[in-house]
């Protein structure tokens, strides 16, 4: 799928936003971006909004070594060690590999991006100061699973696009900088009104959450407990193949509750195998299940 070729590091999501905008318009949605780069796609006058983030981990070039390695700064410190050994691509198309001599307590200043240059000048010519990079997905798929680096970012987007094909009277909010404490969503909700916001995220496969066994309705996340009546309605909309889960991750389900005028909130997740490691895995059936669940919910409410 061409979507996996699109790079969308936090703060530089414009390529993904353009892609989704074109898709939304082809489906008859009125699509606009706000000052923050968030994309709002609307059809009809329903009061439900389906939301997902569109950004992936960002690495920003801050310098180069004498031997031609690129030094980067990574705003999301908990993701740093998971980058080692992975392929990254800068927005100007230059590809590199993340190398690191340390094996523990890794900070972003320990990382070196190897783009195959052997001196400072060569590197400076290839990649300018301040350029952004993110993981290359490097997709492998079979009939049941999609495997790739950092592909958990794409799963909520693909799910939302599936729902868009068949939903009426619904708004879709594609938010930027979600990895940055949900900043895009915070900004958007300051000026946008909805009665209910259903957020699509991912959840690591573990314990009670298994890949291939359907969408996961969230009962609790790090920052919030979703609105009870929304949570119950989502579970009902999932029918027989739905899972229920809690997570220690911050999915920002509290933001609709506390930003702007306030809205009801619910969360639907897709399970990810080996989230954060090389070649995460997502079951195609789970994406389909999540899309159907959300569509059922929308149809029942509307």
């Amino acid at each position: 799928m061409e979507i996996f070729e699109i790079l969308s590091p936090s703060g530089r999501e414009e390529n993904m936003i353009s892609y989704i905008k074109a898709f939304g318009e082809s489906q008859g949605y009125k699509c606009n971006t706000d000052v923050f780069g968030n994309l709002i796609c609307e059809k009809g006058d329903g009061k439900i909004a389906v939301e997902c983030g569109v950004d992936s981990v960002a690495l920003m070039k801050i310098g180069e070594t004498d031997s031609g390695m690129i030094k980067v700064s990574v705003p999301s410190s908990k993701e740093v060690s998971s980058l080692v050994g992975k392929k990254v691509k800068f927005l100007n198309g230059v590809v590199g590999v993340v190398r690191c001599d340390k094996t523990e307590n890794i900070e972003d200043s320990d990382l070196n991006i190897d783009i195959g240059e052997t001196d400072k000048e060569g590197t400076k010519e290839k990649v300018p100061m301040g350029e952004f990079a993110t993981l290359c997905a490097d997709i492998t798929e079979n009939e049941k699973f999609i495997f790739g680096n950092g592909i958990s970012v794409y799963a909520p987007i693909i799910t939302a696009l599936e729902v868009m094909k068949n939903a009426d009277d619904t708004a879709f909010l594609f938010t930027t900088q979600k990895k940055f404490a949900g900043r895009g969503l915070k900004a958007l909700l300051g000026g946008y009104e909805a009665d209910t916001v259903i957020s699509i995220n991912t959840i690591p496969e573990k314990d009670e959450v298994k890949c291939t066994e359907g969408a996961v309705v969230i009962i609790k996340e790090k920052g919030a407990v979703p609105t009870e009546k929304v949570r119950k309605a989502l579970i009902k909309a999932g029918g027989e193949k739905v899972q229920v889960g809690a997570t220690e991750d911050n999915l920002f389900l509290d933001l609709p509750l506390i930003c702007g005028k306030g809205a009801l909130t619910g969360g639907v997740c897709i399970g990810v195998r080996d989230k954060g490691k090389a070649y995460e895995g997502i079951a195609k059936a789970d994406i389909k299940s999540a899309a159907e669940l959300i569509l059922n919910y929308i149809n029942k409410v509307n």
Binding site: S10, G11, R12, E14, D34, V35, F36, N38, A58, M60, I62, G63, E64, T65, K71, S73, V74, P75, S109, M129, G130, Q177, F180, R183, K186, A187, L188, G190, G191, Y192
Partner: protein
């Protein structure tokens, strides 16, 4: 003005003295001024032609100390306000108005071997004001009082050393901007409590709706021996620092691109801030009410968040000049 601003004390939550100075300096140049419930000073200046509205923001507060306990023998226990590295505190002079104190620790020859080898923490420290008892100390200090670094302004070659360059340097740039006449409308917010969570800015910008905002700050500069280039963040005398991203915000790309183009056209010395660490009021302003196009321009400051921060005059002048050119060209932005 920078000397006066830096030598005035205004630890987060106690910015009144700084605000009074700024107000006295700028009020006659503004069409309207307002002090809100957070203590922010908001200054409005109508442009000659109207059109775009530019918002400039700087914070008035500085890092410092708050007294948490007065011991029976007259010493003051404290906590830091804002991010202060406890390693730089030992033997620092601090003050509350005319009252001076010394930050101290148990004398080294009284420390056990174990204590000497262990790094001390803030809770091991105390402020000595020379009182011999709690009663004597309580005559001049109360729990909840603020102390600031006791440090004087010094200008030497191109270097200016002072406390609170972060962000009195930004305040000074805003004051100069308010004293000039512009075609565009100008709003300057002098905000409180940045160092303790961007609190003032969150309230200050609500409802203002500028076309774009620039946060003017002091930022880290690790241009010292032994620090590799990629860890310096900014270079001393490298020009005004333009942020791309930090832990609190991503600068609006179009705005950054226009700012750097204006800098290049006018041959103003500038550099990128080469780190995504740290944050400033752009984190609060950019997400306000549906979002505001925001960027940050900073003056590099060595030894930031200490009593002896140091900046280069040329960097300050570059920042001031760039801000002025941005306001002049507001219609094109």
């Amino acid at each position: 003005m920078l000397r006066i601003l830096t030598e005035t004390d205004g630890v987060s939550g106690n910015e009144k003295a700084v605000r009074d100075i700024i107000f006295a300096e700028v009020s006659s140049f503004c069409s309207e001024t307002k002090i809100d419930s957070m203590g922010n000073l908001i200054c409005f200046k109508k442009g000659r032609k109207g059109g775009k509205t530019v918002l400039l923001s700087a914070h008035m507060d500085e890092v410092g100390f708050i007294i948490t306990k007065i011991t029976d023998d007259g010493f003051l226990k404290f906590e830091t306000v804002g991010g202060v590295d406890s390693k730089i505190l030992l033997s620092q002079m601090v003050r509350k108005g005319d009252l001076k104190g010394i930050i101290s620790l148990k004398a080294v020859h009284l420390l056990t071997k174990e204590e000497r080898e262990k790094a001390f923490s803030e809770s091991d420290l105390f402020i000595d004001i020379g009182a011999k008892s709690k009663e004597e100390a309580e005559k001049v200090v109360s729990v909840g009082d603020y102390f600031a670094f006791d440090s004087e302004y010094l200008s030497q070659r191109d270097m200016i050393k002072a406390k609170a360059l972060d962000d009195r340097v930004g305040c000074a740039v805003l004051i100069d901007a308010l004293k000039k006449e512009w075609d565009a409308n100008l709003i300057c917010t002098f905000v409180t409590q940045e160092e303790v969570g961007l609190r003032g800015a969150k309230a200050a910008v609500y409802g203002l709706k500028p076309d774009f905002a620039i946060v003017v700050e002091g930022t880290s500069c690790n241009n010292m021996p032994g620090i590799p280039e990629e860890k310096r963040v900014t270079n001393f005398d490298g020009g005004v620092a333009v942020s791309i991203m930090d832990m609190g915000s991503v600068a609006n790309r179009d705005l950054v691109s226009k700012i750097t183009a204006i800098a290049d056209e006018n041959k103003i010395n500038w550099q990128y801030k080469a780190s995504v660490k740290g944050g400033n009021d752009a984190g609060a302003i950019s997400i306000s009410e549906g979002g505001i196009k925001t960027a940050s321009l900073s003056v590099p400051c060595k030894y930031i968040h200490s009593g002896v921060s140091a900046m280069n005059k040329n960097d300050y002048l570059s920042c001031k000049e760039l801000i002025e050119k941005i306001i002049e060209n507001a219609e094109e932005i």
